[in-house]
């Protein structure tokens, strides 16, 4: 366990360091195309805790990403605060909205929850588009300041890449620890059987609310970082339902039941289009056309995975040791004895 943990993290950190050089020199793709994948990782890892572990679906994750981004951007441009302050503000506003939204919504069961989150996602997106004086309407907000640490300004693509991916690594670590903590066990218990979880003394609603707020806060943080550390501008289209569905696709493709599965899914869904786009035959095509083809492919991949492999690539149907050190099977419905 300990050894595999060290090995895994050496691999992670090593590949994060090496990846931009592979992309720039071997595949000759700009480092900027890697930025997006970093944000995808944060989003999918935060969502897998909610969907895979607690069994509570959210189809509106992009909304919280957007809330974080817009809050940070508005605070930075309208009030002139430095990004080092506006990012925490964006994260906190996201968490607060998560509390207000989560409290009523998490009382809903089964598909009503997915519908409510979906509709909230759409409502927030429409709000970004409509609230012109605040959010800049369809155009969005541009000329966002870069992060500045003392005299050091994080401006070059490579610096931004390392900032984003360091944050992503930190969030992976956090979520991984959380999923192995007693709290993570409680989440799995809720996923397996809410009534049974209630019977052994877990406050189901409170636990659900906690994980919802945690997940949403990470999404809002990712959004705030996105505002200051990506392309210097944000527009409502980036936070539409399509993004929520993309994140769901990552979680489904990578594996619903593990943090590393979500990372795998995010890397596949994030990097494949960039690599494909730079292959010769596609380069001649119109950019919007490529986007439409990509979207259609996401849809097809999602349908295929749900039908044929609902557990994802890194399915966890394998032997593991449980808390007592006994061998057990970790499956869709939580922990079963072999």
């Amino acid at each position: 366990m300990k050894k595999s943990f060290i090995l895994r993290w050496t691999f992670f950190i090593g590949s994060v360091i090496v990846l931009p050089f592979i992309f720039e020199h071997i595949l000759s793709i700009s480092v900027e195309s890697l930025l997006q994948t970093g944000f995808f990782i944060m989003l999918s890892v935060s969502l897998v805790l909610l969907v895979g572990f607690a069994g509570q679906i959210s189809l509106g994750h992009a909304a919280f990403f957007g809330v974080g981004a817009y809050t940070a951007a508005i605070v930075a441009t309208k009030l002139g605060l430095s990004p080092l302050l506006s990012i925490p503000v964006g994260t906190m506003v996201g968490a607060l909205i998560g509390l207000f939204v989560g409290y009523p919504v998490l009382k809903l069961k089964s598909f009503y929850l997915s519908l409510a989150t979906l509709v909230i996602g759409i409502a927030v997106y429409e709000f970004f588009k409509a609230a012109d004086p605040l959010t800049g309407g369809e155009i969005g907000i541009y000329d966002l300041p870069n992060i500045r640490l003392g005299n050091l300004e994080i401006a070059s693509p490579l610096a931004r890449y390392y900032t984003v991916w360091t944050c992503a690594l930190f969030i992976i670590f956090l979520c991984d620890r959380l999923s192995h903590s007693p709290f993570g066990q409680r989440l799995r218990a809720i996923h397996s059987d809410e009534q049974a979880a209630e019977c052994v003394g877990i406050d189901v609603f409170k636990t659900k609310l906690k994980i919802f707020i945690f997940s949403v806060t990470i999404a809002a943080f990712a959004g705030a970082l996105f505002a200051h550390c990506s392309y210097g501008s944000i527009e409502p289209g980036e936070f539409s339902v399509t993004l929520s569905i993309k994140v769901i696709t990552m979680v489904v493709v990578g594996g619903m039941y593990s943090v590393y599965g979500a990372v795998t899914g995010a890397v596949i869904i994030g990097l494949l289009p960039e690599i494909i786009r730079n292959l010769g035959s596609f380069a001649a095509m119109d950019l919007t056309q490529i986007t439409h083809i990509q979207d259609a492919l996401f849809g097809v991949i999602l349908v295929i995975f749900i039908i044929f492999s609902p557990e994802g690539i890194l399915s966890q149907r394998k032997e593991r040791t449980d808390v007592t050190g006994k061998k057990c099977l970790l499956s869709i419905r939580g922990i079963e004895s072999p």
Partner: protein, 285 residues
């Protein structure tokens, strides 16, 4: 006088939302699937309508023909994606229908491009004034009539014909329906065909006032879906009531702050969902 204007446009849109909501409800009651691609069906109806129009098909035949074409799309979707996934959790099925809506939207954007298309109305350039300042497009009245007619004929189909009764039996109890020789799978396909036909019809009908484009599906689907949830998923009177509440609330909201028009329906739906998850009319939980 503004009130009259709001009322006529409000009722026009209300009947449109009601028909879209009925599509949702019909598919849900027959198959327990919430088909979030319904808005894309409406969008396809409008775009098929435009293609038929450019093929010089008489205006009168365009809505029924688009309905037929979209019904075929609905059947294909059911056969290709939903029947292999039968038995998956409700949430997985919802995600599948969203994935299909994305696929349909992207394909439509590839085929028809980003432009908006308009089909001329049946009573082109014959707008009339009731009094000064109030101009009414007769297409709205026409849409109301057709919506009422299609709701009526659907009710007759469900109540009077053998096929319609089997569909309702299946929505009450799939196992019981199977025992008396009705195939729930066939009924699911039938519900997708009917839902698709309704959506295609309405899509072609609103193209003269709404401009069909590959982007318009999400919004229309959302309103119809909110109407269906508001009234109570799976209930036809509920869908009609929900459509009217949303249509009128939106028309009133638009006269106050038009840019926030599209936020009204989701907010209304969430409020109702919180206090009465089974909807205003729906009694079954």
């Amino acid at each position: 006088m503004v009130i009259l204007d709001i009322l006529i446009h409000g009722v026009g849109w209300a009947s449109i939302y009601a028909v879209i909501a009925i599509g949702f409800s019909l598919i849900f009651s027959a198959s327990r699937i919430i088909n979030l691609a319904q808005g894309e069906f409406v969008m396809l109806g409008g775009l098929f309508g435009f293609t038929l129009y450019s093929l010089k098909i008489p205006l009168f035949f365009i809505p029924p023909l688009s309905g037929l074409l979209v019904a075929i799309v609905g059947i294909t979707m059911d056969k290709l994606a939903l029947s292999p996934a039968s038995g998956a959790s409700p949430t997985s099925l919802i995600i599948i229908t969203i994935a299909i809506s994305i696929i349909l939207k992207s394909i439509a954007a590839l085929v028809w491009g980003p432009t908006s298309f308009r089909i001329p109305g049946f009573f082109e350039n014959r707008t009339f004034m009731i009094s000064t300042g109030i101009i009414i497009n007769p297409q709205y009245l026409f849409i109301m009539v057709i919506c009422a007619a299609s709701i009526l004929s659907l009710t007759l189909f469900l109540k009077k014909t053998k096929l319609g009764r089997s569909l309702r039996a299946c929505s009450m109890d799939p196992v019981g329906a199977r025992i008396v020789g009705i195939s729930p799978e066939k009924m699911r396909t039938l519900s997708f065909a009917t839902g698709g036909a309704l959506a295609g019809l309405i899509g072609a009908l609103i193209a003269p006032i709404f401009y069909a484009s590959s982007e318009c599906g999400l919004n229309l689907g959302l309103k119809g879906f909110c109407a269906a949830v508001l009234g109570g998923m799976g209930s036809m009177p509920g869908a009609i009531a929900g459509g009217f509440i949303i249509g009128l609330a939106e028309a009133m909201g638009a006269s106050v702050a038009s840019s926030y028009k599209d936020v009204i329906a989701p907010v209304l739906m969430i409020v109702v969902l919180y206090f009465r998850p089974e909807g205003i009319v729906g009694g079954r939980s």
